[in-house]
């Protein structure tokens, strides 16, 4: 790599900067804490003529998603961003976007869902739409926000995929924290994302297409089966696109990031910014001779089941950290990991820890505590426990 272009920016600015370099045709977005700075930065790029993007200052998130659906169906590259309540409001159209197979990229700045109202981070918003048919990527830091936003465009628009992608970053923790981010030159990003090749664009009046027909029991199921297949393709092509991104950036992405997993007997699994904190704890415990490791999940949908199985089989214990609860059922990440491990030859002992709801800090001592419980083999697969909660 040539000289690095490092910027000290927030995750929100990293997302907006990536969007600037992608230079989509249309951005429609509505401000909501903590996503707001993304819209603000991007609006400034538009106002200053730094991008030729047409921005739609919609009156709600519902209309934001509706407008990007319209724009993407028309044949434009379209993007948006939101958080929590905004996602909840647009969720009806979130499903429509994926079902119409529109390659929209959306930044989701993870925030707790109301009530009570809370503006801070957890993953309840992302989990609300985990079955919406969107590809979901989770970022550990601002660098990953920048990288995965760019990568997401290629993934969404891949001929075999044609699905929208949600790039998750932890609200405030990443979105408002200033960190060094190495950015690529504009032309490198432009070349990487290339031109959108629209299929069946509405604006092609010579080939009129009907979008959004009424699909009854004779066909709906078949169309859903196609979506299921598209997710399989997303899983298949992701490594190829990640490899191409590696070539331009030197940064390697995968479904999961194994951290000190070689001989790890006790493994933690998590999403988002907590992974950095966990890595530090892993290093510290490793220096104490403890065989701990981390499996960070980059791609939550499609869920990388083979990797989960490959990395976690025959470990002594696995603890899964969830930043969201599933009321009346197991926490979402735990449920998915546990389900994946049903099929492995040697199942590890498993434990579920919910943490960080509404922005509650995950501290190194919490991580250490969970690891110690794993090392003591003091885990019950059927018991959900809580980190950082007053009990």
């Amino acid at each position: 790599m040539e000289t690095k272009n490092l910027m000290a920016i927030t995750g929100a600015e990293a997302a907006a900067y990536a969007m600037k370099q992608i230079e989509p045709d249309v951005v429609a977005a509505y401000p909501i804490t903590p996503q707001t700075p993304i819209v603000e930065y991007f609006a400034k790029y538009v106002a200053d003529g730094e991008v030729r993007t047409e921005m739609i200052p919609v009156e709600s998130e519902h209309s934001a998603m509706s407008a990007v659906v319209g724009a993407a169906a028309a044949g434009a590259r379209a993007m948006t961003a939101t958080s929590a309540q905004g996602l909840a409001l647009m969720s009806e159209i979130v499903y429509i976007a994926s079902s119409l197979r529109l390659p929209i990229v959306m930044g989701l700045v993870n925030r707790a869902l109301s009530a009570p109202i809370n503006i801070h981070c957890d993953h309840s918003d992302a989990m609300m739409v985990r079955d919406s048919g969107w590809i979901q990527l989770f970022c550990e830091d601002a660098q990953e926000v920048y990288d995965l936003t760019i990568l997401a465009v290629r993934l969404a628009e891949h001929d075999d995929v044609r699905l929208p992608v949600m790039v998750n970053q932890d609200g405030f923790i990443i979105s408002h924290g200033v960190e060094p981010v190495e950015v690529l030159p504009d032309d490198v990003v432009k070349k990487f994302v290339g031109e959108l090749k629209p299929i069946y664009p509405l604006l092609d009046t010579d080939h009129p297409v009907t979008y959004g027909a009424l699909d009854l029991y004779d066909y709906y199921f078949e169309h859903k089966r196609q979506q299921i297949e598209a997710m399989k393709h997303a899983y298949r092509v992701f490594p190829q696109i990640a490899e191409e991104f590696y070539k331009i950036s030197g940064r390697k992405y995968d479904y999961v990031e194994p951290y000190r997993m070689e001989d790890a007997e006790y493994v933690m699994v998590a999403l988002g910014s907590s992974n950095g904190t966990i890595k530090d704890v892993v290093d510290e415990m490793r220096s104490e001779g403890k065989k701990v490791g981390l499996l960070k999940i980059w791609m939550f949908r499609p869920f990388p089941k083979p990797e989960i199985q490959r990395y976690l089989t025959a470990r002594k214990a696995v603890v899964v950290l969830d930043r969201a609860a599933s009321f009346g059922a197991e926490a979402p990440l735990y449920e998915a990991v546990k389900s994946a491990l049903y099929e492995v030859a040697v199942r590890p002992l498993m434990g579920s820890f919910v943490y960080g709801l509404g922005g509650r800090d995950l501290k190194p001592e919490h991580v250490r505590y969970a690891f110690e419980r794993a090392m003591a083999l003091d885990l019950v697969a059927d018991r959900e426990e809580y980190l950082g909660l007053r009990e």
């Binding site: 080939h207 009129p208 297409v209 009907t210 169309h223 598209a230």
Partner: protein, 100 residues
């Protein structure tokens, strides 16, 4: 429509990529009353053509040519808007066995 297609034989997203496929769909069999047209009374005002909700009036350059019974649902709007009573609504039962 012929046989129902399998999932991998369909365009994605429930899109209908061929325009106007509904033209293959016969709505004429909804009809219980049939408009019968009397050319001798017609003044080619085009009201029937303009209003027909099913676009079942056949015309050429403003000249009334007849009714397309493949689509006509028999609502009678054409007969009702006709200023010359050139269209009469007759029970479909009178036409059983006859071609459209």
């Amino acid at each position: 429509m012929a046989e129902l297609k399998k999932w991998h034989e369909l365009p994605i997203a429930g899109l209908i990529v061929e325009p106007g496929t509904a033209r293959k769909y016969r709505t004429g069999d909804w009809r219980v009353k049939r408009p019968v047209y009397d050319r001798s009374k017609c003044i080619d005002c085009m009201f029937c053509w303009f209003y027909c909700p099913d676009q079942a009036i056949i015309q050429e350059k403003g000249v009334m040519k007849g009714i397309d019974y493949f689509y006509c649902k028999g609502c009678g709007v054409c007969a009702n808007v006709c200023p010359k009573s050139a269209i009469e609504m007759r029970p479909e039962t009178e036409f059983v066995g006859k071609e459209d």
